[in-house]
């Protein structure tokens, strides 16, 4: 990747929308996507007719219980008769979707892009954690029956040992973030808690406690991103995307330095 000082189109964010995050939403995934997409379009003062490209982001299919999830979300995301593409990078998908929209615009191929990310994990019974069974290597790892929190626990333990962090220090992250969200209308588990609450909450896999991890939620988020010329017409206060970056680590988690994500 190199810098391009001759970039034709700077990329701006001119509208955004977010649904309330909740457990077991009654809306279908398509409805969640449209709720966020409509909010984003309204905040930019645009309609679907103005949009020339749609980028959808959603984690691998199984979580929503829908195969071809991008195709399923297409109409909910306003992609009818438009170039529509779905991208994902696992857990980072939410941030990655606007990055993908960035090169749709920076390349000059699209001018006004609707960016939609959606996830409805609650259809998985009894718990979406079972879906994670299928993310492991089918020969080496899957027979051991690992789950995701085991890996987080090992990473946390290694980080604590290597960097000298205590459980109390790490609990502060949860305390800060849950408190920050108290006034956030879309937050699911905002709370005014103390370090002690975190430490006393149920231990899932030592050293990870219940209040250390984020819960499973349903929700959608959307952005309207445009090229510089269009952004200047739409708003006086665009947010500029100055740079994007993404990297994938190696295939097997046990080959990584658990305390230091090189990616």
């Amino acid at each position: 990747m190199r810098s391009n000082i001759f970039m034709k189109d700077r990329v701006a964010i001119v509208g955004a929308g977010l649904t309330t995050f909740m457990r077991r939403a009654l809306e279908t995934p398509r409805e969640l996507a449209w709720e966020a997409a409509k909010m984003a379009l309204d905040s930019a003062g645009l309609t679907l007719k103005d949009i020339d490209c749609v980028v959808i982001g959603s984690a691998p299919d199984t979580f929503d219980g829908m195969h071809f999830k991008g195709e399923y979300l297409a109409d909910g995301s306003g992609a009818i008769n438009k170039p529509m593409t779905r991208v994902y990078v696992g857990g980072g998908t939410g941030v990655f979707v606007p990055e993908s929209a960035y090169w749709h615009i920076a390349s000059g191929v699209c001018k006004k892009v609707l960016v939609v990310a959606e996830e409805k994990m609650s259809p998985a019974h009894p718990h979406p954690q079972y879906v994670f069974k299928y993310i492991w290597d089918p020969i080496i790892e899957r027979p051991l029956g690992p789950n995701l929190i085991w890996i987080f626990a090992m990473e946390m333990r290694r980080y604590m040992a290597k960097c000298g962090a205590k459980k109390e220090d790490i609990a502060l992250v949860s305390v800060k973030n849950k408190r920050n969200a108290l006034d956030h209308p879309a937050a699911l588990t905002a709370a005014n808690i103390t370090v002690d609450d975190v430490l006393k909450s149920e231990t899932l896999v030592w050293p990870v406690n219940l209040l250390d991890v984020s819960p499973v939620t349903d929700g959608a988020a959307a952005l309207v991103m445009t090229s510089e010329n269009v952004a200047r017409e739409i708003t006086d206060t665009p947010v500029w995307v100055d740079g994007v970056g993404f990297t994938l680590e190696n295939q097997h988690w046990y080959n990584r330095e658990l305390a230091f994500p090189r990616y």
């Binding site: 008769n81 438009k82 993908s100 295939q251």
Partner: protein
Amino acid sequence: MGGNSNTDEFAPEPIGGALRPTFTVAGDGLEGIAHAYMLIKTGHFNVVSVESHGKPSEIKTLQDIYRFALDPLHVRPLDYVNPLFYAGLDAVAYMKRTGAKREHLAMVAVKNKNNGLSNERASFSTKLDLDYVLSSNYSIYPMTNYEIAPFSDASITFVLANEEYAKKLTDNPVWIDGIGYSTETGTGATEWHEWGKMKSFRNAAIMAYKLANLNGNPQVDFAEVEDRFSFMELLALEETMLVKEGEAHKMLEKGDFNRDGYLPINPSGGSLSMGIQLEATGLSRLLEAYLQLTGKAGNHQLKNVRRGLVASWRGVPTYTSMVALLSV
């Protein structure tokens, strides 16, 4: 579909993606090419590789996977419908609209299955005559088994580069003049689909031709187009504006689409001969077009080809298509 969730996490080492910007496009391989095209056009990237693979032979429960692709409220409760019925409906509506006969659909299969005989990658090619296809039982009305492409395993990789690097890397690059992709409607809203047409092909073609600064028929020398169902070849040719609407079956009958015809279509044998490699299918069409344009197609090489078109569809039950225009 290969039995792994989080497929991108299985990719990095085998494709050289570890500690590099790597991501998954949940779509046909040609959509990946469109992303690579845009990445290079931003000016940030010099060389981008696109890999796509499909391993349907590992799938035990294909019917169930299809079932999960159907709309959960309206179609899935219909208890184990064969999802290929969508293609049957489209085929009948197409025949009614254009006057194409059941024989024309069979002719596509005969042409492609025989074309494949000289292609070493075409595992499903066979010597076939029209009477044999016509006397077979329907599999999905109005198509027999010979007119529905079977599945095969494959992995295909392309390396794309900007002009400066392409000239350093090779003496005979194939240029992507234009690329386009489009979705007509979601799988949960098939009631909005215009039966017997494929608007996504048309919109994808318009996008690709626009990027190539062309308006309408791009005057290609040959094309590798979607043929996982025989009628799709005719429909794709009309919707990408290579031939006039309602003319495809007449041209087919005249032999225009044969390897020695006026506009050779699927000289490789298409998906009917090479099989469906799930999301790698579009790339296998692109690969064949690349081989033709660089003169490496071997026994099925066409003479004097300078420009070709590739068109692919994501298959039932989607309405998403991709089109790429190539030249040397």
